[in-house]
């Protein structure tokens, strides 16, 4: 027994591991120990199985990019996040949970709107949304919750416009999205929310099929459903993935990123005082690296025997990739626990790596660049309105963040 790595009766550390009290931005100390002492090793998860844990930046990139690794949760040995997600994943197959060539086929159907040039063309409308939200926030009560007033509506408005989902219904889809990214959601809750969202998207697709508009759901309906390449159900599941992945993540990056900057005033001052798009771009990469909000590990299963880090992973073994600690690997990022907006953090794995690397990353980058470069310069007096120890963090979420961030100005 060491102080930090919690030993179970069989001697394996339990995953997920707790973060240290008072250090909500840092990955669990036990993960750091694993990375230093045994970077490829087994852990025990909720169902008693013992998948491998990959903790080094170099190994994460090598193996997530390896075609001998499968993202298909229906394969035996896949390390499920919970009993509820295991059940849900039995019946759905989106691009997130398929392997090539099916994955490539599905992904290619939705890459077009995320090309850099198309996303750059959205920048002016992202700016407008950010400006409007800040105006509204300043006109409203002070203090206020930054999550509700700014961090969540921004990505929600952007993804709704892109997909062609009516934003007026945001209470409905935000509520169900939250259930999908909550670790403690029961099987019933998860299935019900998945169904509700899929039915909702299915209805929208039917309407778009009859009367197409200039949005991603219309394109899916006309070019994929009408041609028989996708069933309407498959298109609806793709729509749910885009809707959920497109706002929970970005919203948490905005709120948690703001908190991290408020706790690092020298870094916040850099961003606020220098009107430099290069620094803003680099700040976004560094905050993605430092916060690594998708913190429950990428989940995979080995298709063949694979030798890595002096260990032999057998065909059929589950594998969890700890992107959070990989992003704090001193071998890849010197002085990794320091938030340094000027460092070159581009090789972080916060968007994953390999063929499943985040499809929405160009859009997320534009939203975060506009948010971080506008919010603090427009509200230079922005400050936390509650004690740091009073904040509640999403330890139990598949996506990490703060539930609320009360701020004043």
């Amino acid at each position: 027994m060491t102080d930090t790595v919690m030993d179970t009766p069989t001697g394996l550390p339990e995953h997920p591991m707790p973060r240290a009290t008072g250090c909500p931005f840092d990955p669990p100390p036990a993960l750091k120990d694993l990375q230093a002492e045994r970077p490829v090793s087994r852990v025990r998860i909720w169902d008693g199985s013992s998948p491998w844990m990959i903790t080094r930046h170099e190994d994460v990139r090598a193996l997530l990019g390896d075609p001998r690794i499968s993202a298909d949760p229906r394969r035996p040995g896949y390390p499920h996040r919970s009993a509820a997600t295991r059940e849900r994943d039995r019946t759905r197959n989106t691009l997130l949970t398929t392997d090539d060539p099916e994955h490539a086929r599905l992904r290619r159907m939705v890459t077009a709107p995320f090309a850099i040039r198309k996303v750059e063309a959205l920048r002016p409308s992202v700016r407008r949304i950010v400006d409007d939200l800040i105006e509204e926030m300043l006109a409203g009560p002070n203090p206020t919750d930054l999550v509700e007033a700014f961090a969540l509506p921004l990505p929600s408005l952007v993804i709704c416009a892109l997909l062609g989902v009516p934003y007026e219904q945001h209470d409905f889809f935000q509520r169900h999205s939250r259930v999908l990214v909550h670790r403690a959601s029961t099987r019933e809750e998860l299935l019900a929310s998945s169904e509700a969202l899929t039915d909702y998207l299915d209805g929208l697709l039917a309407a778009k099929l009859a009367d197409p508009a200039d949005d991603v759901l219309s394109t899916l309906a006309v070019e994929r459903v009408a041609t028989g390449e996708l069933t309407r159900r498959q298109a609806a599941e793709t729509g749910v993935l885009l809707l959920v992945a497109g706002h929970e993540t970005t919203a948490n990056m905005i709120a948690l990123g703001t908190l991290a900057l408020l706790r690092n005033p020298d870094q916040l001052a850099l961003l606020r005082d220098r009107d430099d798009p290069k620094l803003v771009a680099s700040a976004v990469e560094e905050l993605l690296r430092y916060l690594n909000i998708v913190h429950s590990g990428r989940r995979r299963v080995a298709l063949e025997d694979i030798e890595i880090g002096g260990e032999l992973i057998h065909a059929g073994d589950g594998v969890i990739f700890a992107n959070d600690i990989a992003n704090r690997d001193p071998g890849a990022f010197p002085d990794p626990d320091r938030l340094d907006l000027t460092r070159d953090a581009r090789r972080h794995v916060a968007f994953g790596y390999g063929v499943h690397q985040c499809l929405g990353q160009p859009l997320a980058r534009v939203e975060l660049q506009v948010a971080y470069s506008t919010l603090y310069s427009r509200i230079p007096t922005l400050a936390p309105a509650t004690d740091f120890d009073q904040l509640e963090f999403k330890h139990d979420g598949f996506v990490y963040g703060v539930y609320e961030l009360p701020v004043r100005w």
């Binding site: 990019g65 490539a104 290619r108 850099i116 968007f351 160009p362």
Partner: protein, 64 residues
């Protein structure tokens, strides 16, 4: 240095375009397009970074 891209492997992450826009572009579907197969030495560093950062190993460099 000569640059080669493997379009069937590309997953349209856009990373190469952000790192070296003089060398890489994307078509309407987001798939990588090579703008310059033999970029000058001043672009060496960016091209190497693009190849390293590409999540799908779709960029290959052939040293001159």
């Amino acid at each position: 240095m000569r640059v080669e891209v493997d379009q069937p492997k590309c997953v349209a992450s856009g990373q190469c375009v952000l790192v070296a826009p003089q060398v890489f572009d994307q078509d309407d579907e987001g798939t990588v397009q090579l703008l310059d197969a033999t970029p000058g030495p001043e672009l060496d560093e960016d091209v190497r970074e693009s190849a390293a950062i590409c999540p799908a190993a779709a960029i290959r460099l052939v040293e001159a």
